[in-house]
Symmetry: C2
Subunit: 747 residues, 2 copies
């Protein structure tokens, strides 16, 4: 049994070894001529400046949160101050994951540009390897962290006292481990929101003055905001996405472990099998993601998308097959969670359901945002009557695009529940997240290629270089859309798993909307994603305005800037984005952290008939539903507007006339794209972290707001109760059938 | 007791008498010169053409629905085919309310224009009296219909068999009465959605070609779509709003009655007091609304808004005071609903809470949409960088504006529940709706004044006429915003009351989000308002495109049209809007009607541990939460964009420069306003009806999907159970305290 426990961090170490080797390989590649290196250095420095500023602020946050956690852990009955250690390691690992991703991305971008001088194949190789370094780094850190902390806490809390795998001691061990997830997700929130604000403030600001007012192309070195714009791609799309998936990955595994503890089994692993299964599946996913990367190869003129799909599908399929054998070997034949019986094969099917849900939602997302498909074409058509109708149709496409993903998600919930109860819902999420390393590799490849294109443009490299990076970039736009779909689906399932875990730990047996305070909580929860989105969007608006004024000032005051003889002050624009991002991420971040505390502690004991934990459950349900809807709506509307605009580059037929770039309909579509920018890159993706973080905070405080303040008498003292229940059942079978006394209270 | 029952329809008759007298008075007023009457006739004919076309389609709908209802009523145990009669009367009354409103509005508009030649005071008098006719007509029909049907069904189902007020017979009587509400709300849905599509297709179409392309002012008689635009004001704002509030009014009273039946009391009214209280409060509200209209008087140069407020506040205050005495006289001192004890004074406080919630939400709505306030000014400021930033800030304002209303609503739910249980939540809604007649008078006054201005413009009346109607119109814009806030708040509370009633009738004792299918239902429900909005918005987009093409064609093909010598073909534009509205209202309407049937009947018996009624409860909760949020978001964003645009008429200071109509920022704000049009007048207000209608459909099918298929044994056969429970309680007090066997199952 020990062996299997130690295998988990070993998987993580293997991934980190891969990261180190591949990272060295990327660094060894040719970084091009001096002009290229200079631009790349600007971008790398800007990115690192942002990270440094962000991490400085987050250090203060981590200290304050640690004090609070220490206090909670100290006073609570079923908790321990050791949670602070887990929390801090979670923070550091998450920050480290962001750092690794940012560092490799800012190295790979210029090397991809240089490689694109030779061939498409080499350019793909460099950019995708960059992505893979990030993906493996994130997954490796997560599995290493979770695995080794679990071993430590298992030894400290459980094994030392000889307690069982489903004991209260194990509950405390896992509760302490939740700190790791809390740390990871907190950093992720700030990274995602801050990064999202950064990238869009720079992008919108650069476009509004550069493209619209001054009439110079994108990525033109004369535009002072162009470096900030390229930094933003790394800050938002690489570090933000990485932190998001790191958080989901950890939270999903953890939630499944917490639910697994409630399952009492007799197996060959000391009853630990339901707890360690999610970590093992994650470990397998890492190995098969590595194997999958070998399939990502393309020849000159070949299909890049097909190569990426090949890599993705092979890793997914191999993981699915392997999980069958692992589950069959590890798990006992039948299990029972909170009175719901299921089989080990049910767990396998839940993994498959998770994979299907993730895939379907990715495909649907692609349909709603892809060029040439009906939704985007409808926006293109409506651009002919101006910006207003373009916007109206984009909003309509975004809202409509919620239908299918929600149906898939709802079906996924019901099916995974029916095959393996709440453990099934959690394991479905874990299955979906198993190949996170590969997903991230594909995701991170996009912005690297995008950056490479920017560097090629700014360094005035030959046309064929830009053409090659454009091929990669176009594929990157599609993978960005599907990646967002994947991130939303995973966040939704993760939140549900956390939700189920929260219900278990807080000791409530229902979250009953029939009770007025719970219903009120649902409303409050539902409102939060709207307010959070509003804050994120208006933050971008404000920051973009500041950027616009700075760029205008430089155009006005720096002599020769438009002729290319005067040098723009890139650093000023970088500083504006950095400052705005750091400042504006505070309030939304605080909301996500504080609302669960306010509800959980503030309403404790206020209502006689409803516990604050149950009301908090209502809030979480509201946040999750509205958050998932707003995430899909905003991300897809933004993606669709973006591609409606891009459709004009090759020309589109509207009312029998071919319209190209520069036409009136195209201008209308540029307005739509600008509206969509904060939707798809700031507020939309932030929803994922919002719902996860609020669930994790709730899970962390769950033992402190639990309703079982006077613990029920131990089973052996309550034979009378069971007898009485049997008598009740005999007397009135109909009534007790309707209101069963929950099984877990009895045993 | 009989007296008090008969008093209820008598209140309705008084209101209708008032309607008849005041309607005759309006008709007697001078309709102006021939040009004015001709234009007014065009508008009236267009409005009636729409109503005729709409009612024709709805006749088919009513027939199909009747067959289905007859079948349900026939096969069900706790139902009766008589529900078809109630349903049809509900349909007819709702249609009649729309007809009365439309007819008086299209008479009052031209007479207001004529009166404005003399004085502001006379113009207000005519337009407000027109509104009052509509308000009293709607309230009168509702109270007359509900009151007399209740008397009939009470006699038929209850009194004949000598059953008590809380008997199963009474349950059937009220279930049949629900048909009236279903009829009212179904017609309301189509009126609201169809009207909303009509008005915005005409408005957007008229603006895009007339104002933007041809550069002619609003309401210019050369614009072929101008009549359709003015018809739209009546179709959407008058008939649509009227049907919406008619539906809310009826549904609220009914839901409270259904909950009231579950309260067993000993009073001087045969135990009927909790059932008839909501009807009595509504009747009182009518009388005090009439008295309130007397306060709406203004002198030349006086404050119109203050006059309307005076009328509103006096009717609200008088109703509140009167309800104290009625409750004190009618209700027993203590009551009990589903185990929740409360006092008669608790009911009074619930009324007050309802009034406060409605008022606060109206005030908040006004803040977010009023000129000169911070939210609108932020949109104005962001217009300086173009349409994109204008749109972004409008979306942000709309999302942010959900926060306070939801907090108020949540507090309202919790407080009204704590003073009088679920009956309190319902009575709060009833209290809020009591002065519906006055609310509607104030609401309908706006579009009448708006139309009067249009007629003045088209008839080229002297400048001071337009100035006077503009004063009224400006106030009308504010009342429209607060009216929308009121409509949303009332719909939300109504839905909650219906939700509570549904829970009672369907026999479920929890709606537990902890069960996976219920959670999946919550997701599905939450998605529906997004899809519904998307359909409504895209319908406007399509219809507006058709309108644009028609107006362009007329400008191109009719000689002398721009010089005023060629006559535009107004009827063609009217026909386009009419056809589009009728066609496009079908699908969203069908969704609202069919989803509850699919979930309720389709999932019946599918899940062992969860009833379809409980899943449907989850769906309803999702619809209500997301629907209320989307209603507030869309209505307020639209209102704010509108007033941001209007701010430029008097000039605004942006970055130190005064900007006026015609400036670049103003053009950006016109784009925002166009985007906001379908938001605030089509999809936003449709949310209200969507959530109510889905709740009512669920309430109607509740007895057919009820979980108590094998009814629990009658109390007298179950002494054993009570004894056993007492023994259980003795054995393990902690466990049973946590899982009380619900009281209603025991008695």
């Amino acid at each position: 049994m020990q062996t299997i426990l130690y295998a988990i961090p070993a998987f993580g170490l293997v991934a980190l070894l891969y990261t180190a080797i591949k990272s060295a390989w990327v660094t060894k590649q040719d970084a091009g001529d001096e002009k290229m290196s200079t631009i790349a250095r600007y971008i790398a420095e800007g990115a690192m400046a942002f990270l440094k500023a962000e991490y400085k602020v987050l250090t203060y946050f981590a200290i304050i949160a640690s004090i609070f956690l220490f206090y909670l852990g100290y006073v609570g009955e079923k908790s321990s101050p050791i949670i602070v250690g887990a929390f801090l390691i979670g923070c550091i690992f998450s920050a480290l994951a962001g750092f690794i991703g940012m560092r490799i991305a800012t190295k790979a971008n210029v090397r991809t540009a240089q490689a694109a001088k030779t061939s498409l194949s080499r350019a793909l190789n460099v950019s995708f390897t960059g992505g893979a370094v990030m993906g493996m780094g994130v997954a490796g850190l997560a599995v290493l962290g979770l695995g080794s902390l679990f071993i430590a806490f298992y030894y400290w809390f459980v094994q030392r006292s000889g307690a069982s795998a489903s004991s209260e001691e194990m509950e405390i061990a896992l509760e302490v481990l939740t700190g790791f997830s809390l740390g990871a997700e907190s950093i992720a929130l700030f990274a995602r929101v801050g990064g999202g604000i950064y990238t869009k403030a720079a992008d919108v600001g650069a476009d509004l003055v550069g493209k619209v007012e001054a009439g110079i192309p994108e990525d033109d070195p004369r535009n002072p905001a162009t470096i900030a714009d390229n930094v933003g791609d790394n800050v938002g799309d690489v570090a933000g996405m990485g932190a998001d998936l790191f958080g989901s990955y950890v939270a999903t595994i953890l939630a499944t472990m917490v639910l697994g503890r409630e399952i009492t089994v007799t197996d060959n692993f000391g009853g630990l099998s339901p707890i360690i299964l999610p970590m093992l599946i994650a470990g397998l996913g890492i190995i098969f993601s590595m194997i999958g990367t070998l399939f990502v190869r393309v020849s000159e003129g070949g299909n890049v998308q097909a190569a990426l799909n090949m890599g993705n599908w092979s890793s997914v399929a191999l993981t699915a097959i392997a999980s069958y054998f692992v589950i069959d070997w590890l798990m006992p034949e039948t299990l029972n969670l909170r009175g719901y019986e299921f089989t080990s094969m049910g767990i396998f099917w839940a993994v498959i359901i998770g994979l299907i849900v993730g895939t379907l939602i990715s495909i649907i997302t692609e349909y709603y945002t892809a060029m040439g498909k009906k939704p985007v074409m409808s926006i293109v058509q409506q651009s002919s009557t101006g910006a207003a109708t373009n916007i109206i149709s984009g909003l309509s496409v975004g809202m409509m695009s919620t239908a299918l993903p929600i149906i898939v998600l709802a079906a996924g919930i019901v099916f995974s529940y029916s095959v393996a109860g709440l453990y099934g819902v959690a394991i479905a999420a874990a299955g979906m997240m198993a190949t996170t390393a590969m997903q991230l590799a594909i995701d991170a490849f996009g912005p690297i290629a995008d950056n490479a294109g920017g560097i090629a443009e700014m360094s005035e490299l030959p046309k064929e270089v830009r053409e090659r990076t454009d091929i990669l970039d176009a594929v990157g736009n599609t993978t960005a859309a599907t990646g967002k779909g994947f991130a939303i689906a995973s966040a939704a399932l993760t939140s549900l798993a956390l939700f189920a875990a929260f219900v278990g730990i807080s000791g409530i047996s229902t979250i009953d909307l029939y009770k007025a305070p719970v219903l009120a909580g649902l409303f409050i929860g539902g409102m939060i994603p709207f307010v959070f989105s509003a804050l994120a969007i208006s933050a971008v608006g404000r920051a973009a305005m500041a950027m616009v004024q700075e760029v205008r000032r430089q155009f006005r005051e720096i002599p020769g800037i438009m002729e290319g003889t005067g040098k723009p002050e890139y650093d000023k624009c970088v500083a504006i984005s950095t400052k705005a991002a750091i400042r504006e991420m505070m309030l939304p971040g605080a909301i996500a952290l504080i609302v669960p505390l306010l509800v959980g502690f503030g309403l404790k004991g206020v209502f006689e008939e409803v516990s604050s934990a149950e009301i908090l459950g209502g809030v979480l349900a509201g946040v999750t539903v509205a958050g998932v809807l707003m995430a899909i709506f905003q991300s897809n509307a933004g993606g669709a507007w973006d591609n409606a605009k891009k459709s004009f580059e090759k020309g589109v037929m509207i009312n029998g006339v071919m319209e190209y770039k520069g036409s009136e309909p195209h201008k209308a579509s540029v307005t739509g794209d600008t509206v969509g920018d904060p939707f798809k890159d700031t507020s939309g993706p932030s929803m994922n972290i919002l719902i996860k973080l609020m669930s994790i905070v709730s899970l962390v405080i769950a033992p402190h707001i639990a309703v079982r303040e006077t613990p029920p008498p131990a089973p052996e003292t309550r034979p009378d109760l069971e007898g009485a229940i049997q008598r009740v059942e005999k007397a009135a079978p109909a009534a007790t059938a309707q209101y069963p006394v929950p099984a877990k209270q009895v045993n």
